[in-house]
């Protein structure tokens, strides 16, 4: 037993030794295997990854080329494809006080020096405001929409804390051009005022925003219109001006301007009164420009068949009011003379003969009783004279009918007038004004307001007004301009104010085949040397059209021709000569 124990003890000792060796061997092998396993695993992983990369790896943004080029907001162009509004990564001037590390001054120079230098680069910036921001030591914008050259100049200041992140913003390369049509986009990316608001959905829609939206505007005509309106406004010290060029056949708005304007590139400054659109939103009594509409209505209704018929032109009383002219034109006038001299009295007699029903019908057919038809969000509601009957929907009273006939007692927007003139000269079809480019093959059907023969007669009469009458200053050589002046006194607290006028000139050209209607309106023009000391449209609004038409005509495809004109030989003998309103 003992021996056995001893031997066992000895044996166990040997066994233990053998075990130790074996265990060490096993451990070593195990470790080697682990290491190998790790290596194999790594190799396999690498192989799998290589295979995966080589065989299956799709480039992550494979289908994103179009996406990468997709603007954040769609582009708006004019009818020629010139960009009017574009999403554009412009530089901003960002103040990062931690650029030089946490401790110490964030600026190399003193804040006063830097602010002074920045004011030198951005003259419109406020020194005190900049200084306060630089001193506050908080990260903030110092200026937005920095031009590259301005950025270079700021960079040359050598301040690491002034950074230029590029941010996608709405940019209007043409500046304030057509600002009222385009509107602006605020800092939150929301469109306001013009087509930016109307087209909001389309401009942000990923499906559509890749393709630019073409408006009916022509940037060159728009530029010329704004330029001439601005000049006319300056020359007459007018409060404001509005202008419109409308395609007479399709109703496309080729140019639309309301002055003073605003700069949509500075959306932070755009919340002011200047965003108010005088063309589509403000209603005015447009005065004598309504006379041709009355005459057209009378011709169309068969009331006025003989243009040589003479009407009394002496002031007369009706319902306690006296209807009179600005000048005395003798005792009688015929209709062409009445238009040329702009006689209220004769127009009132014509309207009286026509009757309130027909005139009201014509005005309704021309859309004068509702907001103007255009895409813009801000559209003014006309001051439509109240008729007889219970709810005012009956015929106008005799006096109302007469005052409406020469453009008083009814207030509409210049856009209403433009559409009405287009219908009057284009053969009699009224079409809604639009800011979208229309394919000429798919014109809207339109609504017949006048007969084609009436329209032809009106073209002659309007041409006569410019050739011999109050619109002579608009007679651009070779462009066969026709039109009518209108100088309406603005209503004040006690009746009309003699010195506050709305001077309008409504024109169309070329009169032998009218292509464009031009409306120019000045708000409270003053008598200045440039307007020969006159306030009326013949002296301030008509010359604007006279200068504008030769500028835009060739661009819009109207070739001036001195040997070609609408035939007015049958009407010329009916007319004497003289001055009028």
């Amino acid at each position: 037993m003992n021996a056995l124990t001893a031997s066992a003890a000895i044996a166990s000792g040997r066994v233990q030794l053998a075990n130790v060796r074996q265990i060490a061997l096993i451990t070593a092998r195990m470790r080697a295997q682990w290491v190998m396993l790790v290596f194999v695993f790594l190799a396999l992983t690498a192989c799998v990854r290589i295979g995966q990369l080589g065989l299956f790896e799709q480039t992550p943004e494979r289908a994103s080329m179009a996406e990468a080029l997709l603007p954040s907001r769609g582009e708006i162009t004019d009818r020629q494809g010139l960009a009017l509004a574009r999403a554009f990564a412009s530089y901003s001037l960002w103040f990062n006080p931690k650029a030089l590390g946490e401790a110490g001054s964030p600026l190399v120079k003193t804040p006063e020096e830097v602010a002074q230098a920045l004011v030198g680069i951005f003259p419109e910036a406020d020194y005190a405001d900049l200084l306060a921001r630089l001193k506050a030591g908080r990260a903030c914008y110092l200026h937005r929409r920095v031009l590259p050259e301005e950025a270079n100049r700021v960079f040359a200041l050598g301040e690491p804390a002034l950074e230029f992140p590029r941010e996608e913003q709405r940019f209007y390369p043409q500046g304030s051009l057509a600002a009222h049509v385009l509107g602006y986009v605020d800092e939150a990316g929301k469109g306001h005022v013009g087509m930016e608001q109307v087209l909001e959905g389309r401009l942000l829609d990923p499906v559509h925003r890749g393709t630019p939206t073409a408006l009916s505007l022509d940037a060159r005509a728009q530029g010329a219109l704004e330029d001439e309106l601005g000049r006319g406004m300056m020359e007459t010290n007018a409060k404001g001006a509005a202008g419109l060029i409308l395609d007479a056949d399709s109703g496309e708005v080729v140019a639309l301007a309301s002055l003073p304007s605003f700069n949509p590139n500075r959306s932070d400054l755009a919340y002011n009164d200047l965003v108010f659109n005088r063309v589509s939103n403000q209603v005015y009594e447009l005065g004598s420009t309504f006379k041709p509409i009355t005459v057209a209505s009378a011709i169309d209704a068969g009331v006025l068949t003989d243009l040589s018929t003479r009407y009394p032109s002496v002031p007369f009383n009706i319902a306690g009011y006296t209807i009179h002219d600005s000048h005395n034109f003798g005792t009688t006038l015929n209709v062409p003379e009445a238009l040329i001299h702009s006689s209220n009295v004769v127009t009132a007699h014509v309207a009286d003969a026509l009757g309130p029903t027909a005139l009201r019908q014509t005005m309704t057919a021309l859309g004068m009783h509702e907001r103007p038809t255009i895409e813009l969000p801000a559209r003014g509601f006309p001051l439509w004279p109240r008729g007889g009957g219970q709810n005012g929907s009956g015929d106008w009273q005799r006096l109302t009918n007469m005052t409406v006939s020469y453009g008083h007692g009814i207030a509409v927007t210049p856009l209403h007038l433009a559409s009405a003139y287009a219908a009057m000269v284009n053969g009699g079809l009224w079409r809604p004004a639009t800011l979208y480019k229309i394919d000429p093959a798919h014109l809207p059907p339109g609504r017949r307001v006048f007969k084609a023969s009436t329209s032809a007669r009106m073209r002659q009469l309007l041409r006569m007004i410019v050739a011999d009458g109050t619109g002579r200053k608009a007679n651009a050589a070779g462009f066969r301009v026709g039109g009518k002046t209108g100088s309406a006194e603005k209503p004040g607290l006690r009746g009309y104010r003699k010195t506050s006028l709305i001077a309008t000139f409504a024109a169309a050209f070329p009169m032998d085949k009218p292509r464009y209607v031009v409306i120019v309106m000045l708000d409270e023009p003053q008598a200045t040397q440039a307007s020969s000391g006159q306030r009326t449209a013949a002296w301030n609004a008509a010359p604007i059209v006279g200068r504008l038409v030769p500028r835009i005509g060739p661009m819009l495809g109207v070739v001036p021709d001195a040997h070609h004109d609408v035939d007015i030989t049958d009407l010329s003998p009916l007319v004497g000569s003289g001055e009028g309103e």
Partner: protein, 238 residues
């Protein structure tokens, strides 16, 4: 050890399979490489298009209607064409080419000076940078066309340029300009012209000294002609 034909064949198949797999892999790798190249090119296109849009916008902004109008008011003064500048039909166009009828008044001739020499001085001949030769210029060709003055022009050209040069103080005669290109404005040019005339001046060394002095002068940054030479790339913002 003998390998049976069957086994050999299967090994062959496996080898073939492996080779094919390797080839497919190589092909796939190449395809994918190409694909990523395409992707890289696309990225490049995107960045270039963005750059193009940026430049386009900049040009449009700088040439916007209001700016063009200002330029036109100040610089160009263009006005819209008037009715008389248009031709209404082919007949009117053809009327311009109508030959003079018998007894028609002779067209008015306007007296004009021969401006070949003056033009040459005003537009100096191009000087070769390598040889300093000014005869490679275009005006020489133009002269050869003019048969009447072809022979006379080169002979009295120097005299004419000097006479004109005196009158037009700003114009530097071509040959002198070429000779004194690297020299100071007045003195070395005169010295050089003296040597070209072949006069054995006693101060040839002095000439060389002035040249040397002018050369060292040219090397110093104080020389304005030298200092304006390198066109510094303008800094751009990050």
């Amino acid at each position: 050890m003998m390998v049976s034909a069957n086994r050999f064949r299967s090994i062959g198949w496996i080898a073939l399979l492996l080779v094919c797999a390797a080839l497919v892999m190589v092909l796939a790798f190449r395809v994918n490489a190409l694909r990523s190249q395409v992707h890289r090119t696309e990225q490049q296109i995107i960045s270039l298009r963005k750059e193009k849009l940026y430049l386009e916008t900049e040009v449009e902004t700088r040439a916007n209607q209001q700016q063009l109008k200002l330029w036109n008011d100040v610089e160009f003064g263009y006005v819209a064409p008037s009715a008389s500048q248009y031709i209404s039909n082919e007949r009117q166009l053809a009327a311009f080419a109508k030959p003079d009828g018998p007894g028609a008044p002779t067209p008015i001739r306007v007296a004009s000076a021969d401006n070949a020499v003056a033009a040459e001085v005003a537009f100096p001949a191009i000087v070769s940078r390598l040889t300093g030769d000014s005869d490679i210029s275009a005006p020489a060709e133009r002269e050869s066309d003019n048969t009447a003055s072809a022979a006379a022009a080169p002979a009295d050209r120097a005299a004419a340029t000097e006479a004109l040069g005196a009158r037009l103080a700003m114009v530097v005669p071509v040959k002198q300009a070429a000779a004194g290109k690297r020299q100071d404005k007045d003195k070395p040019a005169l010295a050089k012209s003296g040597s070209t005339k072949g006069k054995k001046s006693g101060s040839a060394r002095a000439d060389k000294k002035t040249q040397l002095a002018s050369a060292t002068k040219a090397a110093t940054p104080s020389n304005p002609a030298k200092s304006t030479k390198p066109a510094k790339p303008s800094k751009t913002a990050p």
